[in-house]
Amino acid sequence: MREDACAAVLSGLTGATPLRLHNLLQERSAREALRAIESASIGTEVAPTDVLAEWQREINRVDMTAESARLDELDAHVSTLHDPVHPPQLISDIDPAPLLFRRGTLPDPSLVHVAVVGTRRASSIGREVARELGLGLAEAGFVVVSGLALGIDGEAHRGALLADAVPPLAVVGSGVDVVYPKRHRDLWEEVATVGALVSEAPLGGRPEPWRFPARNRLIAAFSDLLVVVESRHSGGSLLTVEQALRRDLQVMAVPGSVRNRAADGTNQLLVDGCAPARDVTDVLVALGLSEVAVATRRNEPEVGVPEPEAVGTGASPMHSAAGIGDSAAVVGRTAVVLDAVDDGPTSLDEVVDRSGLGVIEVYAHVEELVAAGLVVHDGSRVRRQY
C-alpha cells in the first residue's frame, strides 16, 4: 500500500475533519492509521465510536489500487504532516491541516506569501486592481496566494501568471480534480502546471459550501499578509479576514468608490482600521520594503523580473509602466482628447462634449490612445490607464 494513496483514502472518510485527522496522524503514518482503523484499535480521543465503526466499514470497501492510479493519472500528490514537503505553515497553524492534496510544485516556504482575495462579483476596476496586484507582487518576488474563484481571486492568479516570475499558489475548496468554477478550467490547469494548486478535499470532492470557509482558513494559514481587493457587505472574503486576524496577519484593503456596492465590505474594513492598499507599492511598504528598495528590486534581473525592454513591445498594455512619460509625447488634438478622458469611466459622448471635437475624430483619437496604452476603451466607457 502506498503511503500517499492511504492518505488520500483517509481524507475521503465520512466526518474526517482536519482536527480528527490531525489526532489520528499525530503519531502514525497514513498506512498505520488505516491499519489501526481496520483493526479497530483507535481510541475515542480521535473520534466517537460510531464514526470509527463507519470508517472501518468504508475502508473495507476501498479499492487502494484505483486510488493510486487516480493520483498518478492526475499527477497529484498527497502529503501528511510527517512529509518533509508538507507546508510547515500548516503544521504550526492554530487549525493545523494534517493532510494536503497538491498539484504542481509548492513554493519555497521561506518566500513571503501574500494572499489577494475578494468578491466573485467584482467590478471591472476591482478585477484590474487584483490583476495588477498579482502581477506586481509576483514580480517583486512574492508568492500570490488566492482561491481561484471567479472575480478577484481569478484575476490575482492571472496577474501573477503574467509576471512570469514567482508562480502563484491556489487553495481551492473542491478536490484538485474537480474544476470549480468550470469557467476557470484553463486558469486552473495553468496554475496547477506553473505554480501549485492545493486542497484539503479528497479527490472528486464536490465544491460544497461548507468547504469554502475551511479553504479560507488555509489561505490565511499560508499567508504572511492579506489584501482584500473588493468585498461586499457580508462577503466570503470577510471570513478570510477573520481567519487572518485570528493568526495576527496584517490585513489590507483596497479603497473603493462609495457608490460601488462591491466595495462595501472593503471600505468598512478601512473604517475599522485596516491599512489601505492603493497599489503594489503600498503592499510592499507594508511588508517592510521601502519604496526605494521596491524600485531596485523590480529592476533586479535575478529575481526573475523580465527586463522592461523585453516586455516593452506592447504585447500587454499593462507593461507600459512609463505611462506618464508617454502621455507627454501626445500632442495636438490627441492631447485634447486625452485631457477629456479622466480616471473614472467616461462615456464617449462626454469626451466629445469636453473636447469640443467631432465624434469621428474623437473615436479616432481614443483608439490611437488605446493603441498607445494610455486609455482603456471597453466598448461603453473610456478611462485613463497608467
Binding site: S124, R127, R183, A262, V366
Partner: protein, 502 residues
C-alpha cells in the same frame, strides 16, 4: 359542359398560373374541388354558391367538378373564388363560354357577391401575361403595377356578368386615394444629445453596415433605430417592385398607390419563431420578417431575448442577401437584403458595466451566451447609448434633421454604386483592395491591431469597409488614413458582455 378560366395562386412570393376547369353535368347535385386546394380554397364552394345566388344568378343543381390545374402546385387562399364562380356560370350556360377566352380573374367572393382583395395580388397578376385581368376594386392599384391597363377592377360579381353577357362597358372604379405622400418617418431632429449614436446611425445608413446599439433601458435605443429608415434613400424602381411583391405576398398593407417607395422598417418581437423571421409555413413558404424588411431595416430589439437558434438562422441570409427556406417538397429563395439593427441591454438588469449593476457573473454570462459570436461579429458598428444627460434633454435646440443626414447618406451610397456594390458593406475582398487602399500609416495601425489581437482577420476586413464609409462621409478621399481605421475600430469595440471572466 366544360368551362375554363385562367387565374393564379401564390407560391412563396411568386405567382403560379392556375387554370380553373369547371365541369357541370347531370347527376346528383354535388360539388368537388380537386387539384391540391388548401382549406380556404376548398371552402370556395360555400362562398361561391352564396355569391352567385346573391347576384340574381342561379346555382346549377347538377354535379359540379372543379379542377385546379396544374395539380402539382398547391393552391392557397380564396383568390380562386372569382374564376370558380365564372367557370360555373359559363358551364351552366348563364354567361357565354367564349367570353372567358381572354379573361383571367383573381379575387375572393363575399357572400353578397362582392369581390374582395387577396394577399399577393401583385405576384399573382405578374404571371397573367395576356388578356384582361379581373381583380377586386381594392386591389386595382397594386394589380396595375403588374398588368397595367389590362386590369379590370370590379366591385361585384354581377358587374362581370353584365359586361360579358350583356355587352355593358366595364364599370369605372375610382382609383384609391394616394395617401403615401404623408411619409410617417420620425425625424432625427427630435433626438437630443446622443452624439455617438447619431454617427453610428449615419455610418450604418451610408455604408449599409449592420448596427448594434447597447445601453441601459431608457437610453433611447428603439427611438434611434426607428429613425434609421428615414436616413435611407427612396427605393430604386426595381427594389420598390421587389418589396411590393414581397409585401403583397405577406399580406402587408400597401400604400395607396400600391408601390412601396420607402425602405421598409420591421421590428419583430423577440418571441418570433424561426419561421416568422426567415420564412416558412407548413407545406408552403411564406416570406419571413427578414424578407419583408428587404431593402430596408430589420430591427431586433432586445437581441438577448431572441431564441439563440433563431438568431443563428439569420447568419446565412445576412451573409448572402437571400434566404433559402426548404420545406418538404418546396424550396424557395426569398430576398433578404436588410440593414440589421440590433439593440440590447449590456446585462439582464441593464446597468451593466456601471457600479449599480445588480447582476451576478453567472447571470451576465448566461445573458451574453444567448447571442452567438458569429451574429455579433456581423454587426460592424457598435455604439453605446447612454441615457441622455438632463442638460441635453432640456436643450431646446433641435438636432440635425434627417433630411440633411440623408443627403450625405445618399452621396456615400452613390459612391458605393460607382464601385460596383450596393453599399460599402457589400464590397467584396477584391473590390475593397481597389476601393479602400490603405496608406502606409493605416497599414501599420491595422497590422498592430491584428498583432495585438484586438481584431480578427474578418474583423480587419469589416473595419476596412467601415473606414471606407467614414472617409466617404468625411471628404471621400481615395485612400484610407490611419484616423479612419482608428475611428472604425472605435465603433467595433464591444463592451465586456458577461464581465471579464468570459
Amino acid at each position: 359542359m366544360l368551362a375554363s378560366v385562367r387565374s393564379s395562386t401564390l407560391d412563396g412570393i411568386d405567382g403560379a398560373v392556375v387554370d380553373v376547369e369547371v365541369h357541370v353535368t347531370n347527376g346528383l347535385p354535388a360539388f368537388t374541388i380537386v387539384g391540391l386546394p388548401d382549406a380556404s380554397c376548398r371552402e370556395a364552394r360555400d362562398r361561391v354558391r352564396a355569391a352567385i345566388e346573391s347576384s340574381d344568378l342561379s346555382w346549377p343543381m347538377q354535379r359540379i367538378t372543379v379542377n385546379l390545374a396544374p395539380t402539382c402546385v398547391r393552391k392557397v387562399g380564396a383568390g380562386l373564388d372569382v374564376p370558380i364562380g365564372l367557370g360555373i356560370l359559363a358551364a351552366s350556360e348563364q354567361i357565354p363560354l367564349e367570353s372567358l377566352a381572354d379573361i383571367s380573374a383573381v379575387g375572393e367572393l363575399g357572400l353578397d357577391g362582392s369581390l374582395r382583395p387577396v394577399p399577393g395580388i401583385l405576384p399573382m397578376v405578374d404571371v397573367l401575361e395576356t388578356g384582361r385581368v379581373i381583380v377586386a376594386a381594392a386591389d386595382a392599384g397594386v394589380a396595375a403595377l403588374g398588368a397595367g391597363d389590362r386590369v379590370r377592377p370590379v366591385r361585384r360579381l354581377r358587374d362581370i356578368v353584365d359586361v360579358v353577357s350583356d355587352g355593358l362597358p366595364w364599370p369605372h372604379v375610382e382609383p384609391p386615394l394616394h395617401d403615401d405622400e404623408i411619409i410617417d418617418e420620425p425625424d432625427l431632429a427630435d433626438v437630443r444629445g446622443q452624439a455617438s449614436a447619431r454617427w453610428g446611425l449615419e455610418i450604418a445608413a451610408a455604408g449599409g453596415h449592420h448596427l448594434l446599439l447597447i445601453g441601459p433601458p431608457g437610453g433611447g435605443k428603439t427611438m434611434l433605430a426607428r429613425r434609421l429608415p428615414g436616413l435611407l434613400p427612396d427605393l430604386s424602381p426595381e427594389a420598390a417592385r421587389l418589396v411590393t411583391r414581397v409585401h403583397s405576398a405577406a399580406a402587408i398593407r400597401l400604400p395607396g398607390t400600391g408601390l412601396v417607395r420607402r425602405p421598409p422598417f420591421r421590428a419583430p418581437h423577440h418571441s418570433a419563431s424561426m419561421a416568422a423571421l426567415v420564412g416558412g409555413g407548413s407545406g408552403r413558404v411564406l416570406p419571413g420578417e427578414i424578407s419583408v424588411a428587404t431593402e430596408g431595416v430589420l430591427f431586433l430589439d432586445e437581441l438577448g431575448e431572441f431564441a439563440p437558434s433563431v438568431l443563428d438562422g439569420l447568419r446565412q441570409p445576412l451573409e448572402e442577401g437571400v434566404v433559402r427556406v426548404a420545406r418538404s417538397g418546396v424550396m424557395r429563395e426569398h430576398p433578404a437584403n436588410v440593414l440589421l439593427v440590433a439593440a440590447m441591454n449590456p446585462c439582464p438588469c441593464g446597468e451593466g458595466g456601471s457600479v449599480s449593476c445588480r447582476c451576478g457573473p453567472s447571470s451576465r454570462l448566461r445573458y451574453s451566451r444567448r447571442i452567438s459570436g458569429p451574429v455579433l461579429d456581423r454587426l460592424d458598428v457598435m455604439v453605446h447609448v447612454d441615457r441622455p444627460s438632463p442638460t441635453a434633454l432640456l436643450d431646446r435646440e433641435p438636432g440635425e434633421p434627417s433630411s440633411v443626414v440623408a443627403e450625405r447618406v445618399a452621396r456615400v451610397r452613390e459612391l458605393a454604386a460607382s464601385r460596383g456594390a450596393r453599399t460599402n458593406a457589400a464590397l467584396n475582398r477584391e473590390q475593397l483592395e481597389d476601393a479602400a487602399p490603405l496608406d502606409s500609416e493605416a497599414t501599420d495601425v491595422l497590422h498592430q491591431a491584428l498583432v495585438d489581437g484586438r481584431l480578427s482577420a474578418r474583423g480587419a476586413m469589416r473595419v476596412r469597409a467601415v473606414a471606407r464609409t467614414i472617409r466617404d462621409l468625411d471628404d471621400a478621399g481615395p485612400a484610407i488614413r490611419a484616423r479612419d481605421i482608428y475611428s472604425a475600430i472605435g465603433f467595433r469595440v464591444r463592451p465586456p458582455l458577461g464581465g471579464c471572466d468570459a
